[in-house]
Symmetry: C2
Subunit: 158 residues, 2 copies
Amino acid sequence: MRLDFSVAVHSLLYLDENRPRKIASRELATSLQLNAVMIRNILSVLHKQGYIEGSVGKNGGYQLIRDLSDINVGELYDLTIPPTISYARFITGDSKGAKASDSTDISANISQTLTDLFTLADEDYRRFYHRFTMTDLKRDLHNHGFFRNLVGQNHPQA
Amino acid sequence: MRLDFSVAVHSLLYLDENRPRKIASRELATSLQLNAVMIRNILSVLHKQGYIEGSVGKNGGYQLIRDLSDINVGELYDLTIPPTISYARFITGDSKGAKASDSTDISANISQTLTDLFTLADEDYRRFYHRFTMTDLKRDLHNHGFFRNLVGQNHPQA
């Protein structure tokens, strides 16, 4: 879900800002204003994927082991929000072809057309996030509007 | 919700295919494989917005009063799926600034940055749908892959 993406982004920005200090998940949770349990799953994913390093014990905690400029925002989006596996519940018609529900073939064929439309739209949506690195987000954090201007320049018609 | 968009698209395609016959909402519902109650709301929106004409009574029913080539898919998307009003539940941090939850200002500022990111991404997402007319969807319905190829041509890198 989308909150997972925000958890990842927020965590990486916080670890970056506090380098080289080791950060306990409880401290991170305080900054995120979420329960520590809610963020552990994502921290574990970030750890497995080699974004952060973690150690337990008295002096334990998480550290960022990559540069923000090397971390693509779309990469984090794909990691935390997997593509929809089936659009069936958003689609009308009789995709099974079980019933001759109308004589126009629309009912039998619209599922494929809408699935293609939604899939391509989602791919396009993900490409948007892939245009940015975490450095862009960090700049915006310190200077709201930076990101908005960046997109405006790429999309003069927007 | 996204199903509303599919209801609108499917209904318009069905009315187009059956011109000039007047179509009862029950017949439409059969093609959509939905309960008639679930589609009346969207039919009412399409009626108010001047896409379809409807009459009640024995010979009543809906008719499409616009050409598919004049109906933009993004227009239907915007009509049936309004933009998210607040991303608050998808965002971490302390946007109210109520607590000095950390010393880095990330917690207080990330809400604005993520809201801008999500808003711009959504605008971009809607632009994708605006690139097509209902004629494109009709062509794909009769020839699956048409739509996929169309996008491929626009996005050679895809």
